[in-house]
């Protein structure tokens, strides 16, 4: 028993050092290899930058300050609900990135503003649904991005 205690006293801290050094090297190199495997290649444009470039043309027709509404394939309250239920973050992501790009213009997740941004990535707008909300297309930027005007 005394011998075990002596060995522990003598070699314990060094064994602790070896354990940390081994695990740290393993974990850091594993993370590096994982990230290297995911390397998207040179000339990569990340999804946020792609979305920003897509939304950017709106800036030229919107006033520099103020507020706009927002409409997409799904009703506004469902966008946040789908994210909260961990089902779908795509539509909420598009909404957030629209605000991120257009700041300091405020983007509200409702269609009841004089100007409304329509963002329909990968889907066509449901024209009858849009019309029911009292929205009239003002300018189509292509790629599912449409600026609407609200009918008085």
């Amino acid at each position: 028993m005394r011998e075990i205690k002596r060995l522990y006293e003598h070699y314990g801290p060094f064994a602790g050092y070896l354990l940390i050094a081994f695990c740290a090297l393993y974990a850091s190199l594993s993370l590096f290899l994982e990230k290297a495997r995911d390397f998207p290649g040179t000339g990569w444009e990340d999804p946020v930058s792609v979305h920003e470039r897509r939304i950017e043309p709106l800036k030229s027709v919107l006033p520099p300050r103020g507020a706009v509404g927002y409409v997409t394939a799904l009703d506004s309250e469902k966008i946040f609900a789908r994210e909260r239920s961990l089902r779908d973050v795509e539509l909420l992501g598009h909404f957030i990135l629209t605000q991120y790009t257009l700041a300091p213009v405020y983007v509200y997740n409702t269609p009841d503003r004089p100007l409304v941004v329509g963002n329909f990535i990968g889907s066509n707008p449901d024209h009858s649904r849009i019309a029911r909300k009292g929205l009239v297309p003002l300018k189509d930027f292509g790629d599912g991005l449409i600026l609407y005007r609200r009918k008085e």
Binding site: P13, A24, D46
Partner: protein, 506 residues
């Protein structure tokens, strides 16, 4: 671009470094210049953001110029005063005589270098893949920075905009730092938040290394920094441009500095004021920092009260509070006069709180999540569809416990208050988070899944620090002399064997 960014850091560095010289004067032999550089850089960024917030209220186009001239004058005055008092020379002179490195030191430095390079490469790859950061970076921190930078004189309108989902009530240390970098760079660039994220990630690891190097020895410091840098979540959240890493810096700093205070032969109130300043800056970084700051400011004096009585405890409380006051006053003004209410409270009433507090199921859910996340949080950013399986080889709580079990304890009575304060603050902060989850208005599972791992991460560097303060080192070195032994005695005893040898030869 990089040059302009580094120029923007000069004033914060000078302010933080000089404040460190005054608050932690170099009469104490343990504080290395590198520790001062690391602590000063982070503290300086925090102080500059506090001043920057005040200057937002100045009208006119020249507020940037006026602010920077004021800050530069303040930095120069502080640095000059430190130089005149001989603090600068003394801080470097002390360290010169203390370097003792041999071949065994490389046993730590080589794996640390490989780990650090690997972590830096992983950081760079993650930042390249997501240059705008992760979800919360562009939803909160960089979004706030954009609103501030692009709104000009109308910056206050954002807080009345009703865009509550962007969390306008969150403190402004990080967005103000990003905006200041943009001002220096002449416009918005995604490089600035990446640089700031990289800087704070480096500062946390550097603070852990140099603090343990000062209080224990460089091997313990290097090993602890290695463990932190190899924690995947630390690197990935760092690259994600979130405020959790800057917050972890201020939490670690606030926990470290009282150890230096307790090691002083004549403890100075100013060192606790420095700890208070760092705790205040934690509150100015993120809402979680407010909870940490309140607990820290109360717990340290309470522990001192039991050890040394009322008078000492009151003195410590006033020193801590005086240090934290600038940040807390700015925060109080921000929370009461500028920002809207927090989404965690604003959307609830007393009945809702009581219902949730009485729901036993919620306690079970949070507890299970605490256990599961506590064991796996360092492993990386969790995937909703495939949660982590425990991998004990990846640095985490289990590895830290195994290290402590293998190394054994090395108790130094001078550190007992610091160790106790650190652990009590960590446990109470986690308990506070626990009750925030119990009363959260959000979906509980969603809230736990998206936040808990980062909350643990904020405290992770401090937990590593406290464990390494208590663990026996594989190599006792200069800083681990027995308590109470002063330098004169040490020098005498160091010379004695030499004299004996000489005598024998003669």
């Amino acid at each position: 671009m990089a040059a302009l960014f580094f120029i923007s850091l000069l004033v914060p560095f000078l302010i933080g470094f000089s404040l460190g010289l005054f608050f932690l004067p170099p009469g104490e032999r343990r504080i290395s210049p590198l520790f001062r550089v690391v602590l000063g850089m982070g503290a300086g960024i925090g102080v500059v953001s506090l001043v920057g917030f005040g200057f937002l209220f100045l009208p006119g186009r020249f507020s940037f110029l006026l602010r920077e001239v004021t800050l530069a004058a303040f930095a120069a005055a502080l640095f000059w005063a430190a130089w005149r008092k001989g603090l600068l020379r003394a801080s470097f002179a002390r360290a010169k005589g203390e370097k003792r490195r041999d071949r065994r030191w490389y046993l730590t430095v080589l794996p640390l270098a490989v780990t650090a390079l690997s972590a830096a490469a992983s950081f760079a790859l993650a930042a390249y893949r997501e240059p705008h950061g992760k979800w919360d970076a562009f939803l909160i921190w960089n979004m706030h920075a954009r609103f501030l930078f692009r709104s000009g004189a109308d910056w206050m309108d954002y807080f009345r905009s009703g865009l509550d989902w962007t969390h306008p009530d969150y403190p402004y240390l990080l967005p103000l730092s990003v905006v200041r970098s943009w001002e220096y760079c002449g416009g918005e660039t995604i490089a600035a938040p990446i640089f700031i994220a990289a800087l704070f990630t480096l500062l946390v690891a550097g603070l852990l290394w140099t603090a343990l190097g000062a209080l224990r020895n460089e091997e313990q410091g290097g090993l602890a920094a290695m463990l932190l840098a190899a924690s995947p979540l630390f690197v990935l959240v760092g690259a994600s441009q979130l405020a959790d890493i800057p917050l972890s810096f201020f939490i670690l700093g606030a926990i470290v500095v009282p150890f230096l205070h307790d090691r002083q032969e004549k403890p100075r109130a100013t060192s606790l004021a420095m700890a208070g300043l760092l705790a205040g800056l934690a509150a100015w970084t993120k809402n979680e920092g407010i909870l940490f700051c309140a607990i820290f400011l109360l717990i340290r004096p309470v522990i001192t009260y039991f050890a040394e009585g009322t008078r000492r405890a009151a003195g410590e409380f006033f020193s801590l509070a005086a240090g934290a006051a600038p940040a807390l006053l700015v925060l109080l003004f921000f929370k009461t006069a500028v920002a809207p209410g927090s989404d965690l409270i604003a959307s609830q009433n007393a009945g809702g709180f009581l219902d949730k507090l009485g729901d036993a199921g919620r306690y079970g859910t949070v507890l299970m999540s605490y256990l599961r996340t506590g064991l796996t949080f360092t492993q990386g950013i969790p995937d909703v569809r495939a949660p982590f399986l425990l991998n004990p080889v990846i640095p985490g709580v289990i590895l830290l416990a195994a290290y402590l079990a293998l190394s054994g304890l090395a108790r130094d009575p001078r550190d007992s208050r610091g160790v106790l304060t650190g652990w009590v603050v960590i446990v109470l902060t986690l308990a506070g988070y626990f009750f925030v989850f119990i009363i959260t208005p959000h979906d509980l599972k969603w809230h736990l899944l998206t936040a808990l791992n980062r909350l643990f991460l904020q405290l992770w560097p401090s937990a590593i620090f406290l464990v390494f303060m208590a663990a026996r080192s594989y190599r006792p070195a200069a800083a681990e002399e027995p308590p109470g032994e002063d330098k004169k005695m040490r020098d005498k005893s160091a010379r004695a064997p030499l004299r004996q040898k000489k005598g024998r030869k003669e």
